[in-house]
């Protein structure tokens, strides 16, 4: 599902955040990537989702070699990856409207988009709040909405960046339970967090000094 080798990345201010990273994630796995703030977790996820072009190394995701993808093929790959970014801020729309917006932009007609959006909201336990303004959601419901957005178009891979920030310990467990529930529906997940990791999380990798260990 994900095969990374010798991946390095240097930021615009010449800080080397990733250095010869090797990573392997199998189909159906839920992997937690643990690392301190500014360790390079978000950059790694952006590289894996073809949002950032790799500078060096091999990045094979869903059978596609990202460094060799054209812009159209990269967009095509992004459609097969669900991504919940760090600090996800909902749009000024209703919960249902926000998910339907993504699906309509991807080509669904209104009825079909709303139908699929509702299915995604049911999947994350947010269907009851479909008509609520998205920006008024509590932190855990925001994570639910972000996950609904990410999985609405039925991607094969889910990348989640720091979903546990701003959550209480109990809410963190709920969020993790939700990720496990999504995994049961066949989706492969890579979750980046600085911790703490709720008990019962899947395989844990560590990102420190630009390298991933435990891979």
């Amino acid at each position: 599902m994900i095969q990374v080798s010798e991946l390095s990345h240097t930021t615009e201010d010449a800080i080397k955040v990733l250095e010869g990273v090797h990573l392997h994630v199998d189909r159906g796995e839920l992997v937690v990537l643990l690392g301190a703030a500014a360790a390079g977790k978000s950059i790694l996820l952006l590289l894996l989702s073809a949002q950032l072009p790799p500078q060096s190394g091999q990045v094979l995701v869903l059978g596609r070699n990202i460094p060799r993808l054209s812009r159209e093929k990269a967009a095509d790959l992004r459609r097969r990856i669900g991504f919940l970014p760090q600090g996800f801020t909902p749009l000024r729309r209703t919960v249902l409207g926000q998910v339907a917006f993504k699906l309509r932009a991807l080509g669904d007609f209104r009825e079909k988009a709303e139908e699929r959006a509702l299915v995604a909201l049911e999947q994350v336990g947010l269907a009851a709040r479909a008509g609520a303004p998205a920006e008024e959601l509590a932190p855990l419901d925001r994570v639910r909405l972000g996950l609904a957005l990410a999985v609405a178009n039925e991607p094969s891979l889910l990348l989640v960046d720091e979903p546990f920030a701003d959550l209480t310990e109990h809410e963190r467990e709920d969020a993790l339970a939700l990720l496990f529930q999504l995994r049961r529906s066949g989706i492969t997940s890579l979750v980046a967090t600085r911790g703490p990791v709720p008990p019962g999380a899947g395989r844990i990798l560590h990102l420190a000094d630009g390298k991933v260990t435990g891979a």
């Binding site: 703030a37 949002q51 932009a105």
Partner: protein
Amino acid sequence: MSSSWFVFGELVAALRSRSVLCLGGVALVTAAFLVAFSGLFLLTEAEKTVGTLGPTGIAAHLSPLLSTRDVEALYLNVRGRPEVKTLSYLFGQEVGKKGGGILRIEGTGPDAAAKLAEALRSTQGVARVEGPGRQPSRGPALPSSTRLGLLISLASTLVLALIVARFAYGALLDDFAGEIRLLRLSGVTEGTIQSPLILLGGMVGLIASLLVLAVLSLLHLWAVARPWAFGFVPGLADAGRVTAAILVAFPLGLLIGGLGGLLGASLTGLGKFRVRHHS
């Protein structure tokens, strides 16, 4: 394509009073550019069609709105003047001219002809007076000061239109930034994100062209009704030249509007419209 139309609809729905005001400004400045451009068609003297005018020769172009009775009354009035040696009337069609006919006059002398020409210029129903002593020319050039003024107006309105467009699209995109980030994250292509902005620019250009159409049509109607009041823009009374100016305004308006939209589309490449990373 359906995705682009959807994004276009959402972009239009995201318009707030600030961005609407700025886009209105773009349409107005673009219309000002198009009006200045029309000056190239309308400020030049009409093509002379009555042959060489000697030192005593005068050609009075009559308004196309005059009735047969008015033309006859004007003819008799001119014929009765002591400065007139010979007088003939040419129908517009005879000299390949659209609109009213021409009174071709020979004065009794150069001074008399000059006096008569002066009197005719302030006569109601006379759109334009040529002569005495003016040589016919085809496609006469504009005076250099007018030409320079037009060029400066064209350049400054074009630059101003692009500057206002930069602010307008900046304001609009600020209200749509979250949606653009989500679109990028979801794998929507750059073409789908950017083409609605170019389309919106084209529509702003179209509105500017329609404004020019309205303004020139109104001015044309006034110029035909009161030819003496618009003598400084000789082409305004000429339906053919006004039509040509309007026809050129449409593609030019679309082009300038589209350029503004392209500028807006290029703004979506800024960092604030991309997915941010924290570590």
